[in-house]
């Protein structure tokens, strides 16, 4: 079989591959948002002054969460979510919520550590200066500390987003449905097509690799743009 035949085949299934990419990206980006929100909340709990029992309990819960999530493989977490925790959603006509929540929860643990380290990297004097003016802890945190922390965490956050986008490919281990119809993620659809046409299997896998690479390149570009924007007030 010639190279052009491979190209032709890939071209003929482009719609299915792009659909798969769409499913992957929906899962990834919804999970990123959930992960970011969880991450911010956990990071706040971790760095808040531990001056009452409520915060102390939350802190222990956050510790447990981060330990468990970072200590177990993503695929195992997904299978547990699919089979046990979110089993109620498993047979819904649209069950994308299962992988979205699973990946979001997973990402949240990593985001929490990233955001916490970013906040800790801001000079202690900034909080002291804010507090000495009479500003509350939270006002100083959101007006002064976090804007500075964002700048330092952008590269690591994007690292995490990129890892997450690629890691969603393990979702092909579970059955996905949108509106009652079964759908596949990018790798899933490639595997399925490859089963029927084993001769084209490697071409399909290469196509998947290229499509992921393009997505990651776009993300890298977005990261650069954001970094440039944030660097604005450092210029003199």
């Amino acid at each position: 079989m010639s190279f052009s035949q491979h190209l032709q085949y890939i071209y003929s299934v482009r719609g299915l591959l792009l659909e798969g990419l769409g499913v992957s990206l929906i899962i990834a980006f919804a999970a990123v948002i959930i992960g970011f929100v969880i991450g911010v909340v956990l990071a706040m709990i971790k760095i808040a002054p531990k001056n009452n029992l409520f915060i102390k309990i939350l802190d222990k819960i956050a510790d447990l969460y981060i330990t468990v999530i970072r200590g177990t493989p993503m695929l195992v977490q997904l299978l547990i979510m699919y089979g046990v925790v979110l089993v109620a959603f498993k047979n819904n006509p649209t069950n994308l919520v299962v992988p979205i929540i699973s990946f979001g929860i997973n990402s949240g643990a990593y985001m929490a550590e990233i955001i916490r380290s970013g906040i800790n990297s801001v000079d202690k004097g900034q909080m002291e200066a804010g507090r000495s003016l009479g500003l509350s802890w939270s006002t100083t945190m959101f007006k002064i500390i976090i804007p500075q922390a964002i700048k330092t965490v952008i590269p690591t956050i994007f690292n995490e987003i990129i890892i997450l986008v690629k890691e969603t490919s393990v979702v092909c281990y579970i059955v996905l449905r949108i509106g009652g119809k079964q759908v596949w993620d990018l790798l899933g659809i490639a595997e399925k097509l490859g089963l029927n046409k084993p001769a084209y299997y490697m071409s399909l896998i290469f196509s998947v690799a290229i499509m992921y690479l393009v997505v990651v390149l776009i993300l890298t570009l977005v990261q650069k743009l954001i970094e440039r924007r944030l660097a604005k007030n450092e210029r003199t």
Binding site: D123, Q126, E128, G130
Partner: protein, 302 residues
């Protein structure tokens, strides 16, 4: 010191601070009156910065009282430790209780629990007032840091107006107008829209002073304001500070600038080993020091 008729603005009683097992402050007593300019000097590591940071509770003291404008900023009891209480509650274990009769023990315990209850209630009330009030009190206590601590993500104008807009309910225009007037006073009106990274150290420190002044504090704390500056920039910052003193601002200045202390301050404290070793007027302090450690210190720095 001459006697004063008015109540002190800020009163410090038996202030102690421990970091782990390291005693940094060992009982400092000081009354600060309106209009005082107090220079605090001492060898490094003597606790003078810690003392200053305790005054607005950036460091939480481990014992003592701070009274600001007749309200408790801080008060802590150290009459009974948890261990002492535990031992009293377990009369069999504590050997001291073996010689006591049952009735005596009961009486002590009854009194103790009443005392503890009282102590707890008072502690709780003060803690509540402190937690709630500390942000309000801090609005009245300006602080200037050695490292300036300007907010690099905000312009000079935003640095100065952030707190007044947030806390004093000023409109943006009002706050900016006030900020410009203050910036003009320190000669930085035309830098209002720059970011701190564009300014020299001396300018940054002047902005930091303006930022604190914008809250119209009743007292200003300066934590070695010129120590991080190039020598040629020290003068411009000291000038702003002495102008401020002339206007009648109450100031506590931790400094190594002996010239400033001598000319601008009306009281000078020498802190060593976490206690005030000597307090005097500048003239007496420099010309007629009494404490041995102070004599040694002055012979090295003058």
């Amino acid at each position: 010191m001459k006697e004063r008729n008015t109540a002190p603005l800020l009163q410090v009683k038996n202030l102690c601070k421990k970091f782990d097992k390291n005693n940094v402050l060992n009982g400092i007593d000081l009354d600060i009156y309106k209009g005082d300019v107090i220079a605090v000097i001492g060898p490094s590591g003597c606790g003078k910065s810690t003392f200053l940071r305790c005054l607005n509770l950036l460091e939480i003291p481990t014992a003592g009282e701070i009274v600001f404008q007749n309200e408790y900023l801080f008060k802590l009891y150290s009459r009974y430790t948890k261990k002492q209480i535990k031992n009293l509650k377990r009369p069999v274990v504590a050997p001291i209780n073996a010689s006591l009769t049952e009735e005596k023990k009961k009486e002590i315990l009854a009194n103790l629990s009443a005392l503890l209850k009282e102590q707890k209630a008072e502690e709780k009330a003060i803690k509540k007032a402190t937690d709630k009030g500390i942000n309000q009190h801090r609005q009245k206590i300006g602080m200037v840091f050695q490292q300036f601590n300007l907010f690099p993500n905000l312009t000079i104008m935003q640095n100065v107006t952030l707190a007044p807009i947030k806390l004093k309910g000023l409109s943006k225009e009002q706050a900016e107008e006030k900020a410009l007037a203050l910036l003009d006073k320190v000669g930085l009106k035309d830098r209002a829209n720059d970011y701190p990274s564009a300014l020299s150290g001396g300018m940054k420190q002047r902005v930091a002073i303006v930022r604190a002044l914008a809250m119209e504090p009743d007292i200003m704390l300066f934590d070695e304001p010129t120590s991080a500056l190039d020598p040629e920039m020290v003068g411009e910052v000291l000038k702003v500070m002495s102008d401020l003193a002339t206007e009648g601002m109450t100031m506590v200045v931790v400094t190594h600038e002996m010239g400033f202390a001598r000319e601008v301050a009306n009281r000078i404290l020498f802190i060593d080993g976490g206690v005030i070793k000597e307090e005097n007027s500048p003239k007496e302090f420099f010309e007629n020091p009494k404490d041995e450690r102070l004599k040694e210190f002055l012979s090295k720095v003058l």
